[in-house]
Subunit: 497 residues, 2 copies
């Protein structure tokens, strides 16, 4: 038997095992071509991709090393005796092969695949094979099957009250932090809105990252239930609640590949809403030249897919198309976006108009779900709750209930202003590019890093006038971000009308 060793390497959502080439018990090369081995001990077993080690300081000849995720998953102490065998590939890979060959898969096939993916039985190349095979075509029935399969492997929340509302934006627009305003408004009205949000993966800020500037967001199911019972709303990190563990694994491959199909996006979103126990859902689809959805025809197709899945799983849905032509508000990055949201709730004079109006529109459409409210009164009611300070008070109560944030996040002290190269009018702003600059500046790892916009579409600018300011806290990040912004600012300045 080999002795188990924890290898302090983070392989990011892939199980990796290490075996010494000089191992006297197994010949490492025999395992290499098929890459995967099964590691077993005391009735526990995991599948892992094999790497071979040629340095006995890293791994002794009689040791079997496991990278961090796989070590945690096996759940045994270092030194435990382990055996390895040639891994049989997960049985559900047969379904993936059928999909590659053009088959339409059944509900149970998707359930098998998602169970194996969630249990880390797939290597990253196997996950890629599944995603790409499914990307070539999926019937709407298959999207439904995938949605149900993904919802089934995570935590399932249940709520006693009749109406549980939720909102979701498909993303892609920097600064679009409406949830921070919508949740307090809706909760102040008295509808239950237990909002779980994601942390940014490749974007500069998720709602969970932004809320974490103000309050703790790593909140479990029981505590979440308590907070919603008292305040009708919360803003917590969905990852901690474990609503869609399959999604975390799939995303670790989707993002690097930058393959983002409509079908997989809808299944991912709807599975989380199903798991979260929502009864009514508002979906925000920004449409614009650098947004995820670029034209109205595409937006309508996407809306119909959302509506079909919602109908089948028994969720009331409203889909709204919003302006996706430029970033929303002024800040991009957690601290800056939290600042914008709070200013709107404070009815501050310098609060960004576009963020306020957008949040009111969305909150109004959600309030229209309330059977007790007269039809079409939603936006008006939302405006009242914002103007009266009731929404701000509700955010304060939610913050108090969730508890203080982990550490004081302050705006990055290293700054650089990016200026206009000519006189004119802002004609276009590239959402991708600005998100990338903010990300390189350190957001969201550094909550205080990001980009603060001074000019929006239609604003007149003079040559040399600042368009936006980069904030960073870390020299390498500052260098990456300023280099990126320097090569192209992301702004197009047109002739003055």
């Amino acid at each position: 038997m080999l002795r188990l060793k924890a290898v302090a390497i983070d392989t990011y959502h892939e199980n990796v095992a290490y075996l010494a080439r000089s191992c006297p018990l197994y010949r490492a090369e025999d395992f290499l071509a098929l890459s995967k081995i099964e590691v077993a001990s005391s009735g526990r077993r995991i599948l892992a991709t094999l790497n071979i080690v040629d340095d006995t300081r890293v791994l002794a000849a009689d040791e079997l090393g496991l990278a961090q995720q796989s070590f945690r998953q096996l759940g045994l102490p270092e030194g435990a005796p382990v055996e390895i065998t040639h891994a049989s590939p997960p049985a559900s890979l047969d379904h993936v092969r059928a999909k590659i060959a053009g088959a339409t898969l059944s509900q149970s096939a998707y359930a098998d695949i998602i169970r194996d993916v969630t249990a880390n039985r797939y290597s990253k190349m196997e996950i890629a094979a599944f995603l790409i095979a499914a990307a070539s075509f999926m019937t709407t029935e298959e999207v439904l099957s995938l949605t149900r399969a993904m919802a089934a492997v995570g935590t399932r929340l249940e709520w006693r009250d009749g109406i549980v509302v939720d909102k979701h934006c498909i993303g892609g627009i920097p600064g679009n932090r409406t949830s921070m305003i919508v949740v307090p408004i809706v909760a102040a009205h008295g509808l239950n809105i237990p909002k779980t949000s994601s942390r940014a993966i490749t974007s500069p800020a998720g709602t969970a990252d932004t809320m974490e500037v103000l309050a703790r967001v790593d909140i479990g199911v029981d505590e979440m239930r308590e907070i919603v019972g008292a305040e009708h709303g919360c803003l917590v990190w969905g990852g901690h609640v474990n609503l869609s563990p399959a999604d975390d694994v799939l995303i670790s491959v989707e993002r690097p590949l930058a393959v983002d199909t409509r079908e997989q996006m809808v299944a991912s979103i709807m599975s989380k809403k199903l798991a979260a126990g929502s009864t009514h859902l508002l979906v925000d689809i920004p449409v614009g030249p650098t947004a995820k959805v670029r034209d109205r025809a595409d937006a309508v197709r996407l809306r119909k897919l959302f509506e079909y899945i919602a109908g089948e799983v028994g969720l009331t849905i409203d889909v709204v198309f919003t302006d996706g032509s430029q970033p929303v508000g002024r800040g991009i990055g957690p601290v800056l976006e939290a600042r914008d949201a709070v200013r709107v709730l404070e009815n501050a004079a310098d609060a960004p108009d576009d963020l306020r109006e957008r949040a009111l529109l969305l909150a109004g459409r959600i309030l229209d779900f309330d059977p007790g409210l007269k039809g079409g009164r939603g936006v008006e009611r939302a405006r009242e709750l914002l103007a009266s300070g009731a929404a701000l008070e509700k955010l304060r109560r939610i913050i108090a209930a969730q508890g203080p944030p982990p550490d004081g996040a302050t705006l990055g002290a290293m700054t650089r202003d990016i200026v206009a190269e000519r006189d004119g009018v802002v004609e276009a702003i590239d959402c991708h590019r600005l998100a990338r600059v903010a990300r390189l500046a350190g957001a969201p790892t550094d909550k205080g890093a990001g980009v603060d916009l001074f000019k929006k579409l239609g604003d007149p600018v003079a040559q040399g006038e600042p368009l936006y300011r980069i904030h960073a806290a870390f020299p390498a990040d500052f260098r990456f971000a300023t280099a990126m912004a320097g090569s192209a600012s992301g702004y197009r300045i047109g002739a003055r009308a």
Copy 2:
């Protein structure tokens, strides 16, 4: 700047870089979601997948580690100052995304993809994305483009003589080592047959592994040319000649995924023949219930694809369908297969009939390429060269020219006989299963490991009578192989007629 460190880990055809989580210059987490970084120094640069290290004994905070393949590729000494940046994905991934979306790709798109794959710019998940996207459909024009792209990145052999013949079997049938007999016959006749063969990747023996029992096979282009000049033939390892470096990388993903499309197989084979400078090619397609090709209709489709590509690249081709219902000869594994081939050439009384007749058929079809030979005389001529001992003498001369094998390979000393469970007649033999048993027994790493068959289709057997013998040299391998054979022998015994 970080200091470069070689990390003694073999990641098998994937570039992997290691960065300490405590690195003061870069924040490792910022790079994690997109996985890939660019490592640059002195004008050299490589792309690598990032792993994060939490143990300063493995990697110091100011070091950048590279796994073996990536370290070799960067080509700088340890301690060299290196910088890292966020990697832009290889530009050719845009073509892959277009293919995923259903596009038909151009010749230049395939050339871009294959160049990047060969330069290790693709991660394994990116390679999987390409393979699966292409698996969903490829036009015959695309197969041709892929063939040309793969041939273009490797060594290109050129021969002065008019006719350069070659043979290729699509594989899948254990023991099918006809090349060891065909090459000496054809070379004895005087046609040039510079045979490059593969080593086994997931099968128990490749022709290169088997020839290596008798002679050195790691032979470069110049030496190969000399040997063929003197003897008209050789049997060398194609990997050493580097005919299709792209194939090596693609296979490292294809095999674990067990995705093997006709189109990609044909492109892989034909690119190597194109690179090898062959003018006439015989392709052997075994057809049988556990072979790669299971029925005649499928075989005909495959033949047509081979013929189309051959026509376009200007290669004369002959495709022959052979019996793929059971292993060929008796031995499975390099030493055992070399034994069978030599016995045939020696005209030994106990030489396996099926291997001899098959080799004569194939050699005869190749000799029919000779314009100097009367039409249809090929098989007869092959039989003469075998019976006269000319072929055996030619093999001896080729062995002498290639030089002695690296070390004496002897038959594995640990043996286990697998016996019939009932009286009857051998009705079916599962090629996959027997290949797997031989592989687990240690073949081809252990040249002397494998399976020696005592019974073939139609043979009568008595209960308890040995069907085959497992040979192994290593206890773990012996355990794996006997356990596999014990759970199902791979033989089906039917009632005696």
